[in-house]
């Protein structure tokens, strides 16, 4: 499903990832963890091809990073639901529209969009906020809208970057339960986080990053 072979990514004056190797199978639930600035977000950006690797091979569900055409990247991304660390909500659109945009981009008809959006909002306990605007929500509520947008289109892969940074333990637990349910249906789930509570009592793989290196892997 997701394969990294000797991947290195450099920014202007620093190496963000160095010789990374791993393989994530379809239906797995994987956590990436590591200190601030260790390269977790960069790794996820490589997966949804917002960045190109400087060296090495990346293969995502059959698409190769070094041969993929610019014009087919949108279609790759339609298989992926992303929880961005910096939210990326559209501030001038309602919560409903913010979630619906993921379906509209795919050309879905309005009639089918409505029930799906309300379902996703219910999963993150925000059904009652659907007519509100992002800047009128609390930090944790905004984060949950991002999660709803990531899951609404039933993607093949979910990439969640620090999805509970603004959530209290109880809410975080609810969100994790939802991810597990989705994972149980066959969706691959990849989560970058430093909240150890999230994976303390879960059957999963944890990969540890430190300043760009994959330092250890922990199964349990």
């Amino acid at each position: 499903m997701i394969q990294f072979e000797d991947v290195t990514k450099d920014y202007d004056n620093q190496t963000a990832l160095r010789n990374i190797n791993f393989f994530i199978d379809k239906g797995e639930m994987v956590f990436f963890t590591g200190p601030s600035g260790s390269g977790k977000t960069t790794l996820l950006r490589l997966i949804y091809m917002a960045e190109k690797p400087d060296r090495g091979r990346i293969s995502i569900a059959g698409w190769e990073a070094d041969s993929v055409k610019e014009s087919s990247i949108p279609f790759l991304r339609r298989h992926i639901g992303i929880v961005f660390q910096d939210f990326r909500l559209l501030t001038h659109r309602t919560i409903f529209d913010n979630v619906a945009i993921a379906l509209r981009i795919r050309g879905m008809r309005e009639r089918e969009i409505k029930p799906k959006v309300y379902d996703a909002l219910k999963t993150v306990y925000l059904r009652h906020k659907s007519d509100s605007y992002p800047l009128k929500l609390s930090g944790g509520e905004q984060q949950r809208v991002v999660i709803a947008r990531a899951i609404v289109a039933d993607p093949t892969v979910i990439l969640a970057d620090e999805p509970t940074g603004n959530l209290d333990p109880d809410t975080a637990y609810g969100i994790m339960k939802a991810f597990k349910t989705i994972n149980a249906k066959g969706t691959t789930v990849v989560i970058a986080t430093h909240n150890r509570e999230l994976f303390r009592d879960t059957v999963r793989r944890v990969l540890h990053l430190d300043t760009g290196n994959l330092v250890s892997e922990d199964l349990g």
């Binding site: 014009s71 279609f75 991304r77 990326r88 559209l90 993921a102």
Partner: protein, 291 residues
């Protein structure tokens, strides 16, 4: 590409960014309005000078006491020339009448006059296309070589002034139209750029969610189209307002204005032109944008 949704996006965006859009629409409207005025001036000048052949004539004065026969020959010779539209023979009696008429405020001039001192003359009108300064000058020289022709008279200075004015106006109009059209394209261009930069973040989000180029671009093209077309309609209204105010109202006090010709059928193209310029601007702006 789900067109209806992108159209909705474009229209929403028009109303969400009222200032940029109003600014662009007004600028385009005023630009096209000024182009129209320039066109109106050039057009009217052309129309006015097109009537010139009716007013312009070459006066050929014949020698005294030519035979009827000879006069008829000379008239015939002129009629055969390519540039000539009509030849009128003015007998000296008629010429005297005309002169008396012209000087009727000072009839005393003719008080002591017994004999008709005037010669026969020909009034030659030219075809429109032959009304260049060179053609007329050549024709005058030819005429002088015909036996029996004493003198040829034509408004050389008048003709060359008109000629130069026409040339000047034409180049002035052309320059104005080119500059302002470029200006309008630039306005659309920078409007789209402004809107685009302002939405950079939103666009990046769309892209990351899997939107195609078409989905992202079409709202901007539609916006350029709407801005250009609205500007064009505005200038059409402006031109019509100008027509009713200045041509119809002002002509009551200033008769000069009443002779202005208003080619309505041309101005109906303004919205189409605006639309075209709007899309061009947007297209150029999108083409040069990396995303």
């Amino acid at each position: 590409m789900p067109l209806p949704y992108t159209v909705r996006l474009a229209v929403q965006s028009l109303f969400k960014e009222p200032w940029v859009n109003l600014l662009s629409i007004l600028t385009i409207g005023v630009g096209l309005f000024i182009i129209s005025l320039a066109f109106l001036i050039v057009y009217n000048f052309d129309m006015a000078t097109r009537k010139l052949p009716d007013k312009f004539s070459l006066n050929v004065y014949l020698d005294h006491n030519l035979s009827q026969e000879r006069v008829r020959n000379i008239v015939g010779a002129f009629r055969e020339k390519d540039a000539v539209y009509s030849v009128r023979h003015i007998p000296k009696q008629d010429a005297l009448e005309e002169l008396k008429n012209m000087l009727k405020d000072s009839p005393f001039v003719f008080e002591g006059l017994d004999d008709n001192p005037l010669p026969d003359s020909l009034e030659i009108k030219l075809k429109e296309k032959a009304l260049g300064l060179e053609t007329v000058r050549a024709l005058a020289n030819e005429a002088l070589n015909i036996q029996g022709v004493n003198e040829v008279d034509y408004g050389e200075k008048f003709l060359s002034t008109i000629h130069n004015l026409k040339r000047g106006l034409h180049s002035f109009g052309a320059i104005l139209i080119v500059i302002l059209s470029a200006g309008i394209i630039f306005v659309c261009y920078s409007t789209v750029k402004i809107l685009f930069y302002r939405k950079m973040d939103e666009i990046e989000t769309y892209k990351l969610l899997g939107a195609t180029k078409g989905f992202i671009r079409s709202p901007f093209l539609i916006e350029g189209f709407l801005i250009g077309a609205t500007g064009g309609i505005l200038s059409l209204l402006g031109v019509n307002a100008f027509y009713y105010l200045s041509v119809l109202k002002l002509s009551l006090s200033i008769p000069l204005f009443s002779s202005i010709i208003f080619p309505a059928q041309f101005f109906l193209w303004l919205p189409v032109i605006g639309m075209f310029l709007g899309i061009s601007g947007a297209g150029v702006a999108l083409g040069r944008m990396k995303y």
